[in-house]
Symmetry: C2
């Protein structure tokens, strides 16, 4: 049996996990941010990532359905508003669609998800299943990658605007909102796991959930790299094959 | 194989199901509305029904998690706001707690759910499981008892105010909100099932879901009647037994 850490030690272990495993370290992101991708490769990224975005409110609604008290459900509900929008705001999914259209994809094609890589679907669906099937503590902990997103967002926005003439500030509007939403969400989830992971086993399950989520993000970039950078094995039916090659623009 | 009905025929079949099976027909409700219950019996009703209320947002969050598109999730999300509240409104669960406290129960005891009847828990949990495990169409259809709630609410509020001196309009504030929320919700769910139940089998599954939900409500009143009216078999640990008998007031 593993000894329990202090809450501060748990937080340090989580931050170390992100430092070693978050997808800012992936070669595809380095290419994306440094201007090393073609327009078609950026389109492939936007298209596949849309599927991830489109499943986030369903993932968060599962967490809401599992939270037993009114006040924590109210707080987590804000994530549904952020992504699905409300009467005043179109929401994050709509903003990501604007990004995809902004880099030259057709909205219907993006929303259909017919051109995404199978590995994208498997990774994203694995995330939704994880949140449904694991403990509530692990479900909450799997959102902790948000701890590390402000850094990558700042780097991404600056890099993409500097290097791609087909990318405008309006296209990247999605990230403006995430810069304040992600820290607020991550603060709540971090406080939650620090308050609720008491035993060594619970703490290890929290770290494991964050590693799992890092894997979910990493696997999506692996799939993009393999299909669209090197060796360039685009799976049957995915973006740039068959009848949808017009979407390459 | 069953022939498909028209949408209007399906609606008529659903309304007929409610006319025959909704819990307004249950003897416990007749007693409640006509002043035929003691204060302790009204407390038992309020206590057990609180557990049902407390699980409704979790049930609705499951439906949100299963709805595949932004616009239907946004609409269904309003039910979470109605029950869990927001910065401007305490929400339906808080209003039901006020009802329970208003008839003389202690808030902590109500929220703990330790004194509810096992049959209440089984029925409510069966409802949550149904919404998670059945088709999305059936999950939506199971909410259609809302079609019949305005009638019972009007009867209940008038009857309880007339017959019980320990019940005030403020105690029954929960029902004021439901009088406009329930028809709005029922209209949406009814339109949804009419638009999405095409085959005879799908339509029968919709009717079956409504019958199931009527059973969930009916079983809760059966349990109350059996325990607190006749024959009066209060199960071990439930309200009015053992150390919680002080809550009888």
């Amino acid at each position: 049996m593993m000894d329990a850490m202090s809450a501060a030690e748990l937080e340090a272990a989580l931050r170390e996990t992100g430092a070693q495993r978050y997808h800012h370290l992936h070669p595809f992101h380095r290419l994306l941010h440094s201007g090393g991708l073609s327009k078609v490769q950026v389109q492939a990224w936007a298209l596949n990532r849309y599927y991830y975005q489109s499943r986030i409110p369903q993932k968060d609604a599962i967490i809401v359905s599992r939270l037993p008290d009114v006040s924590s459900r109210r707080i987590w509900r804000q994530r549904l508003v952020d992504h699905d929008g409300d009467d005043n705001d179109a929401g994050g999914i709509a903003r990501w669609l604007r990004l995809a259209v902004g880099v030259g994809l057709e909205a219907d094609y993006v929303q259909s998800a017919t051109g995404i890589l199978p590995a994208t679907r498997f990774a994203v669906d694995a995330y939704v299943n994880f949140v449904r099937d694991r403990t509530l503590l692990e479900a909450v902990a799997s959102s902790l990658t948000e701890l590390f997103s402000p850094g990558i967002i700042a780097e991404r926005v600056a890099g993409m605007l500097a290097h791609y003439d087909f990318v405008s500030p309006d296209t990247l509007a999605y990230f403006n909102n995430r810069l304040h939403q992600a820290p607020r969400d991550a603060d709540y989830a971090l406080a939650y796991v620090k308050a609720n992971a008491h035993t060594g086993a619970e703490q290890q399950s929290v770290i494991g959930a964050l590693r799992f989520k890092c894997d979910v993000l990493w696997a999506q970039l692996d799939a993009l790299y393999n299909a669209y950078v090197a060796p360039g094995h685009v799976p049957p039916g995915a973006f740039l094959t068959g009848t949808h090659s017009r979407a390459a623009g």
